[in-house]
Each structure stands twice: as C-alpha cells, then as structure tokens.
Amino acid sequence: MSPEAASLPEGILAHHFASLERQNEAMRLGMWLFLATEILLFAGLFTGYSVYRFEFPLAFAECSRHLSLTAGTVNTIVLITSSFTVALSIHFARTDQRRAAVVCLALTILLALGFLGIKAIEYTAHFREHALPGKYYAFEEVKIPGAAMFYTLYFMMTGLHGLHVVAGMSVLTWLLWRTNQGRYSSRYYTGLELGGLYWHLVDLVWIFLYPLLYLI
C-alpha cells in the first residue's frame, strides 16, 4: 500500500487508481460527462420552446404575462443563493471547517425546499385557472392558438427542472450526512464537490428558464 493510500480514511482510494489525484480527476471527468448529457436533455426542451415561440409569438408573450413574475424572480434569487451556499460548503470542507460546511449544506437544502414551495404555489394557481398542458387547457384569459403549447412547454420544462431539484436535494441530504461524519476535509472532498456540480447545473438551467418563461 502506498503511503498516500495509508494516510487516507479507509475506502476512499479505489485500488485501480495509482493515486488520489488521478482518481479525483477521473471522478470530475465522469461527472462533467454526465452533466453534458443533462445539458443536452434540457437543450431538447429549449429547442422545442424556440420553435413554438417562433411559431406563436403572441400567445407566448400573453401567457408569460399571466405567470407570477414575483414568484419567478424570488425563485431565481433563492436558487442563486443556494448555489452560493453549496459553493461555500465545499470551500469550508476543503479548509477543514466541518461545522460551517454542514450549516451551508443545511441552508442549501432549506433554500431548495423554499424553491419547491414557491413552485407548488404557482402550480396550484395554474391548476385552479385550468392553465394546463395540451387538451386540458381551459384558461379563460388567454384564448389564442399556441397558448396551450406554452403551458405544455412550461410544465415540461419547470417539471423536469423540479425533478432535478428533488434529485439534487436528495444528493445534498446524503452529502450533509457524510460531511457531518467528517468524511470530507482538505485531504479529500471530491465527492462533495461533485454533488455541488450537480446543484450548480440545476441553477444554470433555471438561469435560462427564468427570462424565457417569465419575461417575454
């Protein structure tokens, strides 16, 4: 066993990696490959959005004005702040400030819950107004062609994004648990870093969803 492997907490360095540095690099590369597939997944929806917005500019603008701009803006601030707190938690972990890292992760999860709460209030309003996708669309205030398509894309995009928020929250909760156990420190924090990368991607997607859905 190399001196490096001996110095690490058990089970961190897999036996098929020559050094921790190489393992970290492989982990990061794997994560970025996964994030690339996520980016392309959302790109499909953004392309659909572009085509239908080009086709129905009036309906998209009109429907957009019926979304709650306040809710969208507050959610943008919430997600940006959660991205900041997760970046801080990794900073604290790699500078051996475990308690601060745990607090930042807990804050991130709370902000994620807040985001979902606001989204739930918005969804409730849409259901009440029958501003629903496809054939279920019966919104009284916008009755022009393409309006149903806007809400179809709105629900698909925010819905898929919401699923990612839930997944991200689950990952962060697990990482919170592990950080609290002291598994991440200046010696090793790549696992936590990868969880953070996923959460930042969730933020990245929302950065584009916000102006495209709420501010036409």
Partner: protein, 138 residues
C-alpha cells in the same frame, strides 16, 4: 497506527501544490460572484419589464449567458479545471448550438410556397384570427 501518526503521514502524502492551494483557498470569489449574480438578476428583471421588443430576447439571453459563465467558471471551478473537463463542457455547448441553430433556422426560413395548407409550422396556422400578415408581431 495512532492518530498523530496518521496525520503526520497525511502531510507527507499531499502534493506540495495541493497543500498550498488548500491554505490559499479563499471564499471571496464566491461572495463576489453571488453579488454579481443577484445584480444580473435585477438587471434581467428591470430590462424584461420594459418589453423592449426585438431586443428583449437578445438582452435576456446575453445576461443569462453571462450569469451561466460566472456559475460555470467560479462556482463549478471550470476556471481551475483540467483541459479534459473543459473540453467535455465545451463540446456539449457546441452540440446545443447546432441543435438550436439549425432547428430554428429551418422554421424561420420557411415561406408560403414551401408550406402547403395544413402543414405543421407553415405560415398559416400561427396567425390569430382577424390579424393580417402585416399586423403580426415579429
């Protein structure tokens, strides 16, 4: 192996550059980026509410791209990443560009003779009733 023994080995095991990085690592860039992201969000909100017509989409997307660049470079550490991870991210962006550009270019360049009545994404379907072609917004 005692506690002091294991920590002593850890120092030996760390790459000298890495150790320097841990000590030098600062949270200040994160704070700066967070404030910048909030400021850009305010800018998106304010310009978005003006309904600037043809420029609105361009401005909104430009700000969104700037915000994403900040998140990717600083929060996601792409600034300090290896060339390999940057290549993966860059490649995904290229393919997103291809997907978006050619799809939208196709729809945007269709004209009447090329789109028989009833064809999807023709020139007929999208027009709200009562609006003539020259009254359609861009």
């Amino acid at each position: 192996m005692g506690e002091s023994g294991s920590s002593g080995r850890a120092n030996v095991a760390l790459h000298p550059d890495d150790r320097h990085e841990e000590h030098a690592h600062s949270a200040i860039p994160y704070v700066v980026v967070w404030i910048a992201l909030l400021a850009f969000t305010a800018l998106t909100y304010l310009t978005g509410k003006q309904h600037l017509g043809a420029w609105a989409l361009f401005i909104a997307l430009a700000i969104a791209c700037l915000k994403s660049a900040l998140v990717a470079l600083i929060f996601m550490h792409l600034k300090d990443s290896s060339g390999m991870t940057r290549l993966v991210f860059g490649t995904s962006l290229v393919f997103v560009g291809i997907l978006l550009f050619f799809t939208v270019a196709d729809v945007a360049t269709r004209f009447r003779p090329a789109t028989p009545a009833g064809a999807p994404f023709g020139t007929e379907r999208s027009r709200p009733e009562g609006l003539l072609e020259h009254e359609m917004p861009e």
